[in-house]
Amino acid sequence: MNNTDLDKVLSKAKVPEPRPGFWDDLPRNVQRGIDSADRRDERFETPGAWVLLLRKAALPLAFAAVCVMIGFIFGANSRKSARADQAEIAEARACWNEVVAMFPNQLQAIVFDQQGSHLVLSEQANQAPVAPIYLKMCDGKQCRRFVTFSGQQIKVNGETFEVLIDRQGEVLLIGDAKVWKSSSEATRMGDFKVFATSLANS
């Protein structure tokens, strides 16, 4: 299915009618809602004691919720390894090919993480078209996958790494005080388990 076919299928999908009388009642109901909101605004011009109490409790409650959420995210991802399987690489390559066509010479990286996939684009269409690199970095808590290319910088946990590739297709990852090579036996770079390959070769 191509985009045109998809758009045709989507545009044929009808929106069901609302309940009978909805259109006739709507202006009146909106007016009623406006009047009611105006009255409410007048009533709550000064916050009551319970509102102040709620405001006081909001911050600790929000903090606790954030802590629980962070704990859950870290726990859920602790078992993820740095081994990149062929399906992930194939998916990354397909995604790269399609995105490059959408943003020619603008794409710096595609980042895959827990929140989904994100694009890093340059403001100008000045990125040289070179072979993409697939990179996976896991810190024991979570894994991030990137599709990027030689000369780009990526950020993981606040640390910046430069990604390079040589003529043999060997990937180099250069951190602040460490270097990792895809040809080396080591799968670790500091706190990270790393896997990298040129998408041109794999």
């Binding site: 758009d7 202006p27 909106v30 406006i34 694009l119 684009l121």
Partner: protein, 160 residues
């Protein structure tokens, strides 16, 4: 340009906003409520309308924000999917429209918003970006992701 949320204004834009809300929620009842809320919010935010913008773009922005906020509060998406499934069983097979809406409901809300504005409402990427308060490239990216997912979900022989 003086703008008033009166009966004529509502009648002129009600279907547009209702369609948007339905695409975003997949529920007639919620779309009705959000349509009403959108016009009330439009009245309350009337001062934010700048004459040079299109009224529809301004109203889309209010509507889409109501829908996205609704998504955040919404905790019954699973029930909604179940509802769709049950309805489909009752109908003895989903209609094409129902299949499309079910597939839409499986997208992330931001992706669904991009589809609703660009594909269903015919907005340009830039206009949709203004309504969503994001960059044009973000809209393009969300559409790209949404299209990939929708193609998978709506491909022949697959049940979304």
């Amino acid at each position: 340009m003086e703008l008033t949320v009166n009966e004529d204004f509502i009648r002129e834009h009600q279907r547009m906003i209702y369609s948007l809300c339905y695409r975003m929620t997949g529920s007639v009842a919620d779309a009705e409520d959000l349509t009403q809320e959108t016009f009330i919010a439009a009245h309350q935010q009337i001062e934010s309308f700048r004459g040079q913008a299109r009224v529809s773009s301004w109203l889309y922005r209010i509507g889409i924000n109501r829908c996205l906020n609704w998504q955040k509060k919404q905790k019954r998406q699973r029930e909604l999917h179940q509802e769709w499934g049950e309805r489909r069983e009752l109908e003895g097979g989903a209609s094409d429209s129902a299949r499309v809406q079910e597939a839409l409901m499986r997208l992330a809300p931001e992706e669904r918003a991009a589809v609703a504005l660009v594909i269903f409402e015919g907005q340009k990427h830039g206009e949709a970006a203004a309504a969503l308060g994001c960059a044009e490239t973000t809209v393009s990216w969300r559409l790209f992701q949404a299209r990939r997912k929708l193609k998978k979900l709506l491909s022949k022989g697959e049940t979304p």
